[in-house]
């Protein structure tokens, strides 16, 4: 496949795959509560994930190891267990949120409660992984995910004052509710810098057979793909600001979200919202489930691969075969999907140092990266974001729990 086509596909994956339950919910809540003020959090998160995704791709292309593979080998089992457990727990909660997102989208369109959709959706996801190939998951789900561009269309129709949007890029202090402001900021960071994104991306680089000649593509795909994806999240903030914030509406339930697109785009907006929510969450759920399987299988040295038949990689298949029904079960219990989504984003932010620092250490190890190790700037920038996210999460999560 020509390199240009690869870039195009990679960009599509980045754009279409960026928005999911977490980034949608956190952006909508932030826009409704604080207008454009938290856009800087999206910008910061987007830059951080672009850098991390590029690192994951570089690690895979140069060392021919995926991240979990390299982590166990480099750190030994005792140190590997810590990020393993952290990522498994957090990923599972995020997975459940995505399943919930799909179910809610179906509830909005059919009127049938989301709890009834949990089992069929979990089964559909499982079937996709059982019978599908890596290419199908990566490219198919993401291409359909381009429907989330509707938020950009909706935002433009609402004529956001660009000066205010720009001003939002600079961090500012809120006029009220400081704890809530920082909690939302940190949730946005957790939504943008999802470990599953760079773990999945590095596994994908190996599945797609990338080598050192792909480093340029890797940089373009990671950088541009994530940036365009981040713009969609900014568009959600814009819609929320102009539709909800202006009316004093704060986001407490998913039911309020379709209004973000129905106001600018009418009934088609409503349909596009439901489609965006369903597709974005479905795609994200597939990737997270796969990433869980990669993480566990590669960490323990089992056979793995989405392109082999399940019986050729039985334990690998078992991981997602167990994770998906469990996630579905959580949704069947009728848990508050919005609270679950926001909470899992905050938890992601809290766990960032544990999930990111191993990657950073590897990226500076010439045994794995040869002469392609990190520069001090990328190291410093990523470390700073992770520490910031963790510290803010440590302070705001207890406050949030106490406040509700």
């Amino acid at each position: 496949m020509s390199k240009l086509l690869e870039i195009a596909l990679g960009l599509v994956t980045g754009i279409g795959g960026f928005l999911e339950a977490g980034s949608l919910a956190t952006a909508a809540q932030a826009g409704a509560a604080f207008g454009f003020q938290l856009i800087w959090a999206i910008a910061l998160g987007t830059i951080a994930i672009a850098v991390l995704v590029e690192m994951g791709g570089r690690l895979a292309a140069v060392s021919q190891h995926t991240l979990p593979d390299a982590m166990r080998e480099r750190f030994g089992i005792r140190f590997f267990l810590v990020p393993l457990v952290a990522v498994v727990v957090v990923s599972f909660l995020v997975l459940a949120s995505e399943v919930g997102g799909v179910c809610l989208a179906l509830q909005f369109t059919t009127g049938i409660s989301f709890r009834w959709w949990a089992v069929p959706v979990a089964v559909a996801l499982w079937l996709f992984l059982w019978k599908g190939t890596f290419g199908m998951v990566e490219k198919g789900a993401s291409m359909l995910g381009l429907v989330t561009l509707s938020f950009v269309v909706g935002a433009l129709k609402l004529h956001p004052p660009l000066a205010d949007v720009g001003a939002g890029l600079v961090p500012s202090l809120p006029a009220h509710d400081t704890a809530q402001y920082w909690f939302m900021g940190v949730s946005i960071l957790g939504a943008s810098v999802s470990p599953y994104l760079f773990y999945f991306y590095s596994a994908g680089a190996v599945e797609d057979g990338w080598d050192e000649s792909y480093l340029g593509i890797n940089r373009v795909v990671a950088g541009l793909g994530m940036t365009f994806g981040g713009t969609i999240a900014v568009a959600v903030v814009a819609c929320a600001t102009l539709v909800l914030h202006s009316l004093g509406i704060q986001v407490d339930r998913y039911e309020q979200l379709p209004l973000l697109l129905s106001v600018p785009l009418g009934l088609w907006g409503f349909r596009l919202f439901a489609a965006s929510l369903a597709i974005a969450c479905f795609g994200a759920a597939l990737e997270i489930a796969l990433q869980l399987a990669y993480l566990v299988a590669q960490g323990f040295g089992w056979r793995w691969g989405e392109n082999v038949r399940p019986r050729e990689a039985a334990r690998f298949a078992l991981v997602y075969t167990v994770a998906l029904p469990l996630a579905g079960l959580l949704i069947v219990t009728g848990v508050d999907v919005l609270k679950l989504t926001i909470f899992s984003m905050a938890l992601t932010a809290l766990s960032l140092p544990v999930t990111v620092v191993p990657l950073l250490v590897l990226m500076n190890d010439p045994d794995y990266l040869g002469d392609r190790t990190n520069g001090w700037l990328s190291n410093g920038a990523v470390l700073a974001v992770c520490v910031l996210a963790c510290v803010v999460a440590l302070v705001t999560i207890p406050l949030k729990i106490m406040g509700s």
Partner: protein
């Protein structure tokens, strides 16, 4: 780990949660927010931007959240 427990501990000690008046204010804001949501949903349904089936879901969600907020406000006012 110790730093985390110290932070959480101090947060708990300094506030022990929001005050009663803060809770009342929070509930009031929620009630107002849902009132506006209902108004907006009605507008949208009126012009055909959202289907009746969905508008019904918004009303149901609003009712649940408003009941919750009123109960919170009553509890906080009694403190």
């Amino acid at each position: 780990m110790r730093a985390a427990s110290l932070l959480i501990g101090s947060a708990l000690l300094t506030g022990c949660g929001p005050s009663a008046s803060a809770k009342v204010e929070k509930a009031t804001i929620a009630l107002r927010s849902w009132k506006s949501t209902l108004w907006l949903a009605e507008q949208e349904e009126g012009r055909g931007a959202i289907p009746a089936k969905f508008a019904e879901q918004v009303r149901r969600a609003a009712e649940e959240e408003q009941d919750k907020a009123r109960a919170e406000r009553r509890k906080a006012a009694a403190e």
